[in-house]
Amino acid sequence: MKLKRLLKYGSFSRSMKMLFWGYGFSLSLFSLFSYFFIDPNFTALRWLYSGVYADYRLLVSFGYVLFIALLYLFYVLILENIKTQNVSFLSLGKKIAITASVLLFSYPAMLSYDLFNYTTTAKTLFFYKENPYLIMPIEFLNEPFLSYTHAANKLALYGPSWLMLSGIPYNLGFSNILLTLFQFKLFAALFYIGCSYFVWKLSDNKQSLLLFALNPLVLIETFVSGHNDIVMMFFVLATIFLILRKQFVIAFLLFIISVGIKYASIALLPFMVFLAWRVSKNQRIKWKTIWVFAAISMSIPFLLSPLREEVYPWYAIWFLPFAAMIRKQYVKYLAIAFTLGLLLRYIPFMYLGTHFGIAPIAKIILTVFPVSVAALCIFVRKRYV
């Protein structure tokens, strides 16, 4: 019955097709735009280095704002129109995958150098066979990655699960830096598909699926920057999925793997215990409450992150899958506005070229502004409309 529903073919309306096409096209242009950010020390793509990013900061920042605005416009329009579409999950999934995949070919260090750090750490472990928790990459003489990696003087930051998993894309890169970077992106993309699958399975709602899977922040941070947060969240969602199927042992192991990627998911431990207890006792589960509980749990490490360094935009991936499943209009709008604000955090550095001076305050203002406007609109609409 479920398979029938999954395969049930329905076609997208002409306007919806146009919206997906427009979104995909904007993402393609964004991919091209990312090549303005090539690091002059990144020798593999030196022939594409234009210096635009360093020489025309205002223009580049303006271009970035324009792209973000365009992406959010298509995103919101798709979300608003999906209710009227009688399409199967499969065709929707295909559309999402095709739309998102154009970002796979973008320059990875446009907004963050983390992908370089991942490859460097993986090389420390799998090529030099040194423990990255004890040895810094800077200790490898004449290593080409030292010229463009920004954290060569740091020990491994991520958990052991991530170190082991990163061996897959690293070894599939066959010591070619471009191929390795692409493999890391592809690796993140696979987990994105997995996450989207679980969001769909757990919510059984197209809006929730789109709210998560087409969110520009999720797409940019996963397909452009290749952050491992999506991998951590895949294991979290897989854990919940297996708890619901009463496969507690495997669920527990997957949760351990998830915690071993970036540690943040440990905040979900009380949630997981609570869910497992309810499921084992065959008690009714109030899904809205469950997703609110999970979203709040993952917001705690997100809100605590300034204690360590600062709030990074990709941390939103920690709570966004749960926020998408809450199915409350105001949560939806607040989530959209918040992710928009987080993506705007890149502008101060893009324009000023420094993380100091007015940049920290500008970041806070840009993050808070969209969500404040959204909150005000929701309040006015509830009160007066």
Partner: protein, 173 residues
């Protein structure tokens, strides 16, 4: 005038005398003594060290491991010598020597793999200086040799000064 010369000579003489001769004084810091043999947690410490050896995989990491071990056992030997526990102190010193010798092997292997060992070599030099300093300070504290005659077992002879001098020799880079 003579008085002035005399005062100047006296001042210089006093300053020269007040300088304490310093042998191999280095900024290298040795760890605090850990659990000593006889302590119930000493075996747990040995077990932990055994497990740690696996954690420190790779040439550079192994170098760090043996360097720390060499330091740890030197401090253990020093403490035991100070408490006149020569029978236990000598094996600790030998362990420290063995780990110190291993350091070079790991560094050479790392060098072959184009790893930067400059900083590690410098650390090793400082370590050798510090170890030498500690070992030389032990010489006046311990007897030249030591006979241990237990009632129902064979006696043991320890040439303590020779052991210490040998350890100093090993640390000459």
């Amino acid at each position: 005038m003579n008085r002035l010369y005399f005062s100047l000579f006296f001042l210089i003489f006093f300053l020269v005398l007040s300088f304490k001769p310093v042998y191999a004084d280095s900024s290298y810091v040795l760890p605090y003594p850990s659990f000593m043999p006889g302590n119930s947690l000493y075996k747990a410490r040995l077990l932990l060290e055994y497990v740690q050896e696996f954690w420190y995989f790779g040439n550079l990491s192994q170098f760090e491991y043996v360097r720390k071990q060499s330091d740890k056992y030197l401090v253990e030997a020093k403490t035991l010598f100070e408490y006149k526990q020569y029978l236990l102190g000598v094996p600790a010193l030998k362990k420290s020597d063995a780990y110190f010798i291993q350091e070079e092997t790991h560094l050479m292997e790392a060098k072959k793999q184009a790893k930067d060992i400059k900083q590690k070599e410098l650390t090793r030099k400082l370590q050798a200086q510090k170890h030498t300093e500690v070992l030389l300070s032990l010489l006046p504290l311990v007897p030249k040799d030591f006979h241990w005659n237990p009632e129902k077992e064979e006696s043991t002879y320890l040439a303590l000064h020779d052991e210490i001098k040998e350890a100093v020799k090993i640390r000459k880079l």
